[in-house]
Amino acid sequence: MTLLLALILVPLVGAVVVGLLRGTDRAAKLTALAFSLAELVIAAAAWGGYDPAGPRMQLTSSVEWIPAFGIELSFGVDGIALVMIAVIALLMPLVLGFSWGERLPRGRTHGGFFSLLLVEQALTVAVFAATDVFVFYVLFEIMLIPMYFLIGGYGGPRRRYAAVKFFLYSFLGGLIMLASALGAYAYAVEVTGQGTFDWATLTRVLGQAPTSVQVWIFLGFFLAFAIKAPLVPFHTWLPDATEQAPIGVVVIVVGVLDKVGTFGFLRYSLPLTPEASQLLAPLVLVLAVIGVLYGSLQAYGQTDLKRFLAYVSIAHFGFMALGIFAFSTQAMVGAASYMVNHSIATGMLVLVVGLIIARGGSTRIADYGGMSGVTPLLGGMLLVAGLSTLSLPGTNSFVSEFLVLIGSFPTRPVYTILATVGMILAAVYVLWLYQRVMQGPVSGDALVGAAKGPGATADPNTLSRPGGRHAVIGDLGPRELGVLAPLVVLVIGLGIYPEPMLDVITPSVEATMSEVGVTDPVAPQGGN
């Protein structure tokens, strides 16, 4: 069994064990955490065993599934899939740690919650690892099921609506993708007389297909991925999902699930339909730039903390799409590393916002003010997450945003210049949020209200004595610090020394570039 199969099976087994466990809630939580940590260790081992200079797909395995249609349960990873799988493995223990004390709706247990999260992890790993187009499609749809329950079962008051909307959107997108996959299959049959869903074979065959065929296939895949990695105007399920889902689930949605869309562009859209990808790139680029600007302005205008998170992500997905469809190695590496760095930075931002909401009990931004004076550590964490979100140099996100923009500029200067306006807007929406929530005198119903607990006075200044008798709102506890600390280390570590990650991603991107048949506008220099 390859490490990759272990990465799929371990969380699955963990989910079953946690689900069947008939003990205390605590036992279930600890078991889930143990499995997620084991997964992290295996992911590290997989990373260690991956050879960036090696074959296109590594850690491969294959089992026949439906031989009549040439469908095989085949898995393997390239550098891009590998880093995404590593990021899921990293986020899951943190999400579990965060959700440890989450107040769940009546009748729900942490055992069930954590079990579903582990199922989701197994399915997302599998989706990134699939090397058979049909298997990818099936997993793409199946991974909606645990997520539907996670949002619909454990979320806020309008969780049913949000869950259905999420499901409908993705599912319909998936169906259209299925049509495209079948078209690809049919074309393979016509040309080679042999039906297959094997990714490598389809890439070879379809690469020669006439543009008109490619365009139809491209569009089907594109719609599914544009919904998943929400590009404006296919994005409206995300704000509802983030608003209603529990914070831990939001991390998985924006950190991992959405990346299946950008990953799909890189792994499926580009290599399967290279000519159509280039032909229709302007369409995607327009949506990408609109996404950057539209998402940023929306984030700036939001009054709700959780919806704010959704629009921040929408803006960032615009950058990723720009990087993918600008067709240069730098931009594409930027986009792929953006997928990882966005998971870390936005994941952290979501968690910090979750900690704020846990303290104030409200998601309205106006209910907060001057929190830094009461909870300086939490304030510092919001700042770190925010600075990474606005891509300050020295943080991880800068590396990817810089690569996307510098790589897009030679091929697509106009789109790039428009996207740089997003850099300014990012500073505006991040710092405006920080200013309202953290700076100024202590104010806002959530904070002052919390201070008016039994035995407390109405004077907001009593809030400011950490550990004081009246302090109702406390700063970060050890568990919360433990959840955020690894993310802080990664934000700075990958900002200063991104080379190990770039080295894993770059060869896969170069392979994708040659599958598309494009070369870099800026050629490497001879030795200087």
Binding site: L178, T236, I496, Y497, L502, N528
Partner: protein, 660 residues
């Protein structure tokens, strides 16, 4: 014109123990910042000592580095540290450029930085603003941010490529943001901090685009390769790059049209104003243009734009400075104006690069000294900043008065003090341009000298002389003013800066010491053409205009009584100057309001329009009658239904393609 003089001054690899370990310069304050911000309350007792020690140690290292390089026949060195962002053709290295230009900045940053760190021990000792955990926690945090600033500023000047420069560039922006908003309980502090960061970001985008353009055209962003191959760039590209870099410089250095954040930045504690918003960070724009001199020298259009920005800004700063009563804001606009001089100088090309740097250094001394003096006055006056509530203070704070007066004289260009040499040289070079440019830029610079003398004399007279207007007044908290001299930990740095204010100009000028030292990095100083005015006349003109300005100030505020209440019936010019020449109003009308409106509109559209359409579509697709409700009623049934639908589609598709 000689273009690529850098070919004559090849870049060599760093050699020797001192140079190969030059990263220590950055590591020291960075480590200090990390310890101070992470150690928690345990560090309250010694935090300020550590904060000063790291910067002093960096200064010591800088001095050693400087001294060891003095006899070096190849003073331009590059130290490769590690590969930062390597992707295929793009190879961004993290490394240091050790040359005369970066070394004088290292000495300025760590030297003046050390003095201001020491001063802050006294200034921040009784910080009232932050109530959390007492004053010492606040002071430790303050030193942590200050150390972070020094580290970032050193990255900015020492980096050996445009991307490392950008790292430091936004890093100092972060430190500035944190320190402007340091007193976070004040609403105005947070707002000023955000404003500073966002306006800087606008400039940063210019810098970023210049970097993108360099990569697109040359395939590299490292100084060595870019400058060696600058002549491959077409004139259009050069113009674009130089203008974009200028945009970056405008943001960081508070130049028109991105000047409005700098006066608001005075919300930060006064040592911050002295170090970041006077002596070092705001001069980064001058550094950028001087550093990119091989590009500017090739682009006349770029140079012209720089000089225009400098000339306009120096006048705008002067005019607004004349109208304010807030001592720190007057000094802030004075900084805007003086940086205008520097920008004007580096815009003159080979005739001015070194002069801009010289004024930057002397300004570093006297403006830091003036700000520390202002801080000392505020320290003794219950944090009062309104000069109308000062008066006759020279008796109560004699050391502050003397050091401040020396800084003042240096700034207005009193003969043989620092500013006299450095500002006069710029005015001379501006007149030396010949034709209309000589008249316009030289005239603006000379006029600015007169205005500078006016507002600075006004400031000194209102603060230190005249009747003691504070005697019958109380502070906002109802307390009486008890002006007193500051402790030695504050006055000693002021004295040392005053020494620099007096002697630095002569020291640099004597035997062309500084200009000669900088030549390997900035090229030979080009003598001006036959200027529009004879050389001997210019000092006379400048000193004369300054004397006139000082006299006018004496007529306005020295001889007449100063009202405590601000006169309301004033001329339109004064009203405009008090409103910052409508800089903020223009920003609000052209940028802030439209953005706000757009965001509000889009939020409405997104929830009603886009989403409404989508919900409608979903309803339509969901079912003809009550389909959607059934989706919501039970998931499993719906899932079964959709899987069934999917299956049917699948089979239908298979049949359609005739398989098997």
């Amino acid at each position: 014109m000689t273009t690529s003089f850098l070919a004559a001054e090849p870049v060599r690899a760093a050699a020797g123990v001192l140079q190969s370990n030059a990263w220590v310069l950055i590591a020291l304050p960075l480590l200090g910042a990390a310890v101070l911000l992470l150690v928690g309350r345990r560090g309250n007792a010694w935090g300020h000592v550590l904060g000063c020690a790291t910067v002093l140690a960096a200064f010591g290292y800088g001095l050693a580095l400087f001294a060891s390089a003095l006899g070096d026949p190849h003073p331009v060195r590059d130290l490769y540290l590690f590969s930062w962002i390597p992707v295929n053709a793009l190879q961004v290295d993290f490394g240091l450029r050790l040359d005369p230009l970066s070394l004088v900045f290292v000495l300025l940053i760590t030297g003046v930085g050390s003095l201001i760190h020491i001063y802050s021990i006294g200034y921040m000792a009784h910080d009232q603003q932050g109530r959390t955990g007492g004053a010492n926690t606040e002071r430790r945090r303050f030193f942590g941010y200050l150390n972070l600033f020094v580290a970032a500023m050193l990255v900015l000047v020492l980096g050996n490529g445009f991307v490392t420069l950008y790292l430091g560039w936004e890093g100092v922006g972060l430190a500035s943001y944190l320190l402007i908003g340091f007193w976070q309980r004040r609403r105005t502090a947070g707002a000023a901090a955000t404003k500073a960061f966002v306006m800087n970001r606008i400039g940063d985008v210019g810098l970023a685009l210049a970097i993108f353009l360099l990569f697109a055209k040359l395939g590299t962003t490292q100084y060595t390769e870019v400058f060696a191959r600058a002549d491959e760039l077409s004139s259009g590209v050069l113009l674009a790059i130089t203008l974009l870099l200028l945009l970056g410089a405008c943001g960081k250095s508070g130049q028109v049209p991105l000047q409005a954040w700098l006066p608001d930045a005075m919300e930060g504690p006064t040592p911050v104003s002295a170090l970041i918003h006077a002596a070092t960070m705001v001069t980064a724009g001058v550094y950028l243009i001087a550093r990119a001199n091989p590009l500017y020298t090739l682009s006349e259009g770029g140079q012209l734009a720089v000089t225009i920005v400098g000339a306009v800004t120096l006048l705008v700063g002067c005019v607004i400075g004349c109208a304010y009563d807030d001592i720190k804001k007057v000094l802030a606009y004075s900084t805007v104006s003086q940086i205008g001089y520097m920008i004007l100088a580096v815009g003159l090309g080979p005739a001015g690069y070194a002069l801009g740097i010289m004024h930057l250094l002397t300004h570093g001394f006297f403006k830091a000294g003036l700000f520390l003096g202002a801080g000392s006055v505020m320290h003794g006056m219950n944090d009062e900043v309104d000069m109308r509530r000062y008066g006759g203070l020279y008796r109560y704070m004699p050391i502050t008065f003397v050091t401040f007066a020396l800084g003042y004289l240096a700034l207005i260009g009193f003969p043989f003090l620092s500013g006299y040499y450095s500002k006069d040289a710029i005015i001379e070079a501006a007149f030396g341009q010949g034709s209309w440019q000589g008249w316009v830029f030289g005239g603006a610079a000379a006029l600015g000298a007169g205005l500078t003398a006016f507002y600075m004399t006004r400031l000194v007279l209102m603060t230190f002389f005249g009747p003691r207007r504070w005697e019958n007044l109380t502070t906002a908290d109802g307390e009486k003013y008890h002006p007193h001299e500051s402790p030695a930990v504050m006055t000693v740095p002021m004295i040392l800066l005053a020494v620099g204010s007096v002697g630095a100009g002569a020291f640099f000028t004597f035997g062309e010491r500084l200009v000669g030292y900088l030549t390997p990095a900035l090229g030979e100083l080009e003598e001006g053409h036959a200027g529009v005015l004879p050389h001997v006349l210019i000092p006379v003109l400048t000193v004369g205009l300054s004397a006139l300005g000082a006299l006018a100030a004496w007529l306005f505020v020295g001889r007449r009584r100063v009202e405590v209440a601000r006169p309301q019936r004033v001329s339109p010019v004064v009203r405009a100057a008090r409103a910052d020449l409508y800089g903020n109003a223009i920003n609000r009308a052209l940028v802030v309001r439209p953005t706000d409106g757009l965001a509000r509109g889009l939020v409405t559209v997104d929830s009603r329009g886009v989403d409404g359409a989508v919900d409608g579509l979903a309803g339509f697709l969901g079912a003809a009658s009550h389909g959607l409700r059934r989706w919501q009623s039970g998931f499993v049934r719906s899932y079964a239904l959709s899987m069934f639908t999917g299956g049917v589609l699948l089979v239908a598709a298979m049949l359609a393609v005739g398989m098997p």
